[in-house]
Symmetry: C2
Subunit: 202 residues, 2 copies
């Protein structure tokens, strides 16, 4: 006697859903059954969205953010943006959080990572040449380094500062200090140190 | 100036992934970016699995479990199974947990729910007629009611017992008592009551 099991197509769907990050066996089973329950339309729409996204989404040849494949992104082609500011981020996914805060109206540049010799990631593995070319075209522009404040982020910022300063531009870095809404009790030593160093007269 | 946003195909994929149960905005965004990162193959495979499952998976015309569309399920067609036992469950998804415990070697019958007048679910909304027909064909068989032990499950079991007993069959119900591995401190009053009532000499 064989143990009763799901039909192979259902097992296949569960296996495929389980490959997604953060989805375990139980979650994949629940999702697969949900799709069956929803009927053909729901599955077809997701299938279409998956294929379309893979087909159409590419990277902006200028800044490296997501864009319609083969085209520049909407920020790079927006004439209302201040082309004399370039905000440098590690990953394309870092752009939207900055956009959402609503303060910044310039361009972006996605490095594609941060310098990390231990992981074998050197400056030539990042979009640094392209950044230098863009800054050189914009005499007197401001480059805002919005990379992480971990060791690799610091190393990347230092390195970029050295490369960019000779190009007749200003280089700034995101402020470091206490996160909004946090009490002193929750701040780690390094954050507190940097908040103290960066204290401002009020 | 328009705020920078993901290309429309990526937004579409995020929106579609967000429709899945238990997946929020952040989760959907993370999944969509993961699919882009994995490349075309991953998306195509899931898209295919979704369409195939919807195409091929149906319900067994005999017992109501999942099956290859238009065919009986693997349990109903397995000659090694004991056709004189029918285990009645509420949902098709209740079958695999019983299979996994490895003790049961008979057939199944999925009701498609439980009697719940408050939700407008009456016996005629469940696969009761079909069950009566199957039991009538099997004189002297045993029907194991593996429905839930909540109020609606109890009502369903009582109703089915009344319908089935005249058919020359035995009707049993899953034992109720302490769950395995649980201390007395965690048991609710009703569970303890039923465990006491059902106590067995050892």
């Amino acid at each position: 006697m064989k143990a009763q099991d799901y039909p192979s197509a259902l097992q296949g769907l569960i296996g495929q859903l389980k490959r997604m990050p953060g989805i375990g066996s139980r979650g994949a089973e629940r999702l697969a059954l949900w799709f069956l329950q929803q009927g053909r339309n729901e599955s077809a729409t997701l299938a279409h969205a998956l294929l379309l996204a893979n087909e159409e989404v590419g990277y902006c040849p200028d800044c490296g953010f997501f864009s319609h494949r083969g085209h520049s992104c909407s920020a790079c082609t927006d004439p209302e943006r201040d082309a004399r500011q370039i905000c440098v981020v590690e990953q394309p996914t870092d752009v939207l959080p900055i956009e959402r805060c609503g303060l910044y109206r310039g361009l972006y540049h996605c490095l594609g990572g941060k310098i990390s010799p231990l992981d074998g990631i050197m400056p030539e593995d990042l979009a640094v040449k392209k950044l230098i070319a863009r800054v050189s075209e914009r005499q007197g522009c401001e480059v805002i380094l919005a990379v992480g404040s971990d060791v690799e982020g610091e190393a990347t910022a230092l390195y970029l500062r050295g490369e960019l300063l000779p190009l007749n531009c200003r280089v700034s870095r995101l402020a470091q200090g206490m996160p909004a809404g946090a009490g002193l009790g929750h701040a780690d030593t390094v954050t507190l140190m940097r908040a103290l160093e960066g204290r401002q007269l009020i």
